[in-house]
Symmetry: C2
Subunit: 489 residues, 2 copies
């Protein structure tokens, strides 16, 4: 067996074990009995231990030294294995274990602090997480920028300098748009009850309509919607609020975007490094274009409106135009995950600046609440009313996910680029969407982006799909045009 074949056989088992760890996460969030939580902690630690020892296995270095890639795809496989191995071996095992232990505890402390609305309960453990993440970043950066080293886990090749510059260009246009929309008449609130079984039936239909393959996935309920798994088993979850059906419907479409990316990857890449979405930013580009540019387009909303009349009867919305404004409601809110397309990126930019300052050491956790609240008041024009609506709202920092937030906006920017290119290639897209038919769009995305998996670097796969270098202009133009038309600006 050649070194390349031996390495790939070893890697295939590692990928399969990684899938298992993902499945356990799915189980934990959907079906696990609550009395099993402590035992599950030991199970997760055991499989993570196995994965870590495989990723740092010294044979990988030997194989990499002599492996010859028979073709470009194989070269891409080697590139990803080399990166993962280098990453794993740079972090001392003791540090990796301490991080796993501390972030596991920190997430529980965070959940309790959020429930009790007590920032002070969370800050000591957050300080500990940050200290460990800085230590990890130093090990990874080897003299380079700490934050960039952390971001590399989620968005290979991204740098804070480039992203920060882009964010600075985006902010004024988003603020201008926000102010214009908020000055216009707001759409009326919904006052209707949408039963759970009917919501879930429509959610399943929407999932199928966006190309989700239920023979290789499933839809369940979870507290926080997520997608999980890849290859031929990519599952999604949603949640139901009986007064707000769009929570369920658009969470579903969003997670379908993530799952379709995984399910759309070339089957030849199954259980190889190329067989996973290439980055969090590209992943988010798929979920966001499904959810927003397609699912919240006035054309598709018109189809949804008629469907909802059939399924729920008269729910107090008079026209497809009014319906389109409701699913594109713009309002300043405290919570990032509930934010509209105009506000969403402002949430992300704020977290990006704060977490960079935390990792640089320029901001101490004792000053974090004041920094958060000042910035929120400045960017959103309202004061944070309680910590659960402020810095305690997101799980990310307790889980050690520093450098993750900017990938959300990067995903939106990529979605904007892809949407522009898609409209260029399929000029009559709205006619399809108005019939509830997304197949032209999702087929284009599968062909241009999804099937490649980890084959190209994140920016490259977007550039190849679009025919231009990814940049923020298409997203901002799209937002101006869409909200301008909806709100008569």
């Amino acid at each position: 067996m050649s070194a390349y074949d031996a390495l790939m056989a070893f890697q295939r088992e590692t990928e399969a074990l990684g899938q298992i760890a993902g499945r356990l996460g799915w189980d934990q969030e959907t079906v696990m009995p609550r009395g099993a939580a402590e035992q599950r902690g030991e199970e997760m630690a055991a499989i993570e231990g196995v994965l870590h020892s495989r990723r740092t296995d010294p044979r990988i270095a030997d194989w990499l030294e002599t492996a010859e890639a028979p073709d470009d795809e194989a070269a891409a496989q080697l590139r990803l294995i080399r990166r993962s191995h280098a990453r794993a071996t740079k972090v001392p095992a003791a540090l990796a274990q301490r991080l796993a232990r501390v972030t596991s505890t920190a997430q529980m402390i965070w959940a309790d602090a959020r429930a009790a609305d007590k920032v002070a309960d969370f800050l000591p453990t957050l300080a500990e997480v940050i200290a460990l993440k800085r230590e990890e970043a130093a090990a990874l950066a080897q003299g380079g920028d700490l934050y960039d080293a952390l971001m590399d886990d989620y968005e290979p090749g991204a740098t804070a300098a480039v992203i920060g510059g882009m964010f600075d260009r985006m902010r004024p246009r988003l603020v201008r748009l926000r102010e214009a929309v908020l000055a216009a008449a707001a759409p009326p609130a919904l006052h209707h009850h949408f039963g759970e079984p009917a919501q879930l039936r429509f959610a399943r239909d929407l999932a199928s309509r966006f190309g989700y393959d239920f023979t290789r996935g499933r839809l369940d309920l979870a507290v926080h919607p997520f997608s999980s798994g890849s290859g031929n088993d990519a599952r999604i979850t949603t949640r139901v609020v009986e007064t707000d059906p769009f929570n369920c419907f658009y969470s579903t479409i969003h997670e379908v975007g993530h799952a379709c990316y995984e399910l759309g990857i070339d089957q030849d890449y199954l259980l190889t490094p190329l067989g996973n979405g290439v980055s969090m930013g590209v992943h988010e580009s798929q979920s966001r274009i499904y959810e927003n540019q397609l699912g919240r387009s006035p054309a598709f909303a018109g189809w949804m409106y008629r469907q909802m009349l059939d399924r729920f009867g008269d729910f107090g919305v008079a026209s497809p135009e009014a319906f389109a404004r409701i699913v594109n409601r713009v309002q300043p809110g405290y919570i990032r995950t509930e934010a509209d397309e105009v506000h969403y990126n402002l949430h992300v930019m704020m977290r990006f600046d704060l977490e960079r300052a935390l990792i640089r050491g320029d901001l101490q956790v004792t000053d974090l609440e004041a920094a958060w609240n000042d910035r929120f008041a400045a960017d959103f024009g309202v004061a944070v009313d309680r910590p659960a609506h402020g810095l305690l709202q997101d799980v990310h920092w307790s889980a050690g996910l520093f450098g993750y937030f900017p990938t959300y906006t990067l995903g939106n920017v990529y979605a904007g680029c892809l949407h522009q290119a898609l409209r260029g290639d399929i000029p009559d897209l709205d006619d399809h969407l108005a019939r509830g038919d997304t197949s032209a769009a999702t087929g284009w995305l599968r062909e241009k982006v999804q099937r490649h998996g980890g084959r190209y670097e994140p920016r490259d796969v977007i550039a190849r799909a679009c025919g231009f270098e990814p940049n923020e202009a298409p997203l901002l133009d799209y937002l101006d045009a869409k909200f301008g038309a909806l709100y008569g600006l």
Copy 2:
């Protein structure tokens, strides 16, 4: 760290990984998307590979050599680890992985073949499974009996010679009883529709009533009811036939017996070798005594009768006595899992003989259907009408579980012994059962059997609980007495 502590720390992770493999099995049978089957095969192979390499880790032999057990329980831990290590080191890793992969696929093929009623679709993969199991048996037996070597996985210490002898003593008395009952008037058939939601609600209530802890388990639907997992996550499944509610109710009670065994084990044994049921025979003793000696006792049936009147209205059964005869209906049927207490062991004896012949190589899969059908006609007096009622009915062979079937009858024999001892200790048991209260009985079983987990050898734990050596007489006496009274023999 002492050698004993090091070994136990290592073993704890192995146990946790073993739980993960079990959870994947549960997932596969209940919620996994069909299109994930092939990928799941690789995942199972990967985790089995990890488990195999841990079970054969050369450090175990070193630790075992110097480990000193601080007490009797520790000595029992070492005994089980020694046995598992010896077993694992005899089977080559490549064979273990091939078996995992082939049996995972074979189970899907079996399910399709059963649904399509096509034996031919299943035979090639069955032949492959048998070839691999014979190879495994040869590695394990090292010159000894192949079938005994396989059976040892499920019932340590059992031999086909001893079991076969016992079966030979049982058969004439069972046949005599069967003929007497069949000559008596059969209870009337049910002609009522029992809706799935109401069946599942009652099944959940029955599970709780038999002591099942839903905070450490869950009840789902599956084609073939099973229980899965141990420690604090032991899940059960059932199935629903809307014309025959007893299928669901007694499957549930049966699986509750299995799960309560696991959940009842001393928490000090969690994620250690002692933290699992000691054998399939002892496991089956718990499921069968819950299902039959308790659940189908005339006393408990009286309580169930009144419950079902409340839940389903008049379902055409006039009295608790008539109801008791219906839940203890004796009729020659095709399906083992639906067989009454009189016929059940005859099904097992038939499979025991056939699978011994398959493993010996005396019977080829091409001749299996004829062999099955001939034996069935001879033992049960009717011809098999279709393969799904014949050799395609059980999952076991597709899963590679050769040597498993006899443990069902061994479980019945053990249940007979435990039931005799239980009645001796709790003379007014029927008064409890008539109130629908199983707690005295299930408490006795938890104290006498379940809490010990793997602490004593299978026959020993039964002998300690009963105060006598396990044998078939109590079961046969119980069957004669119960069916004699029910059918006025």
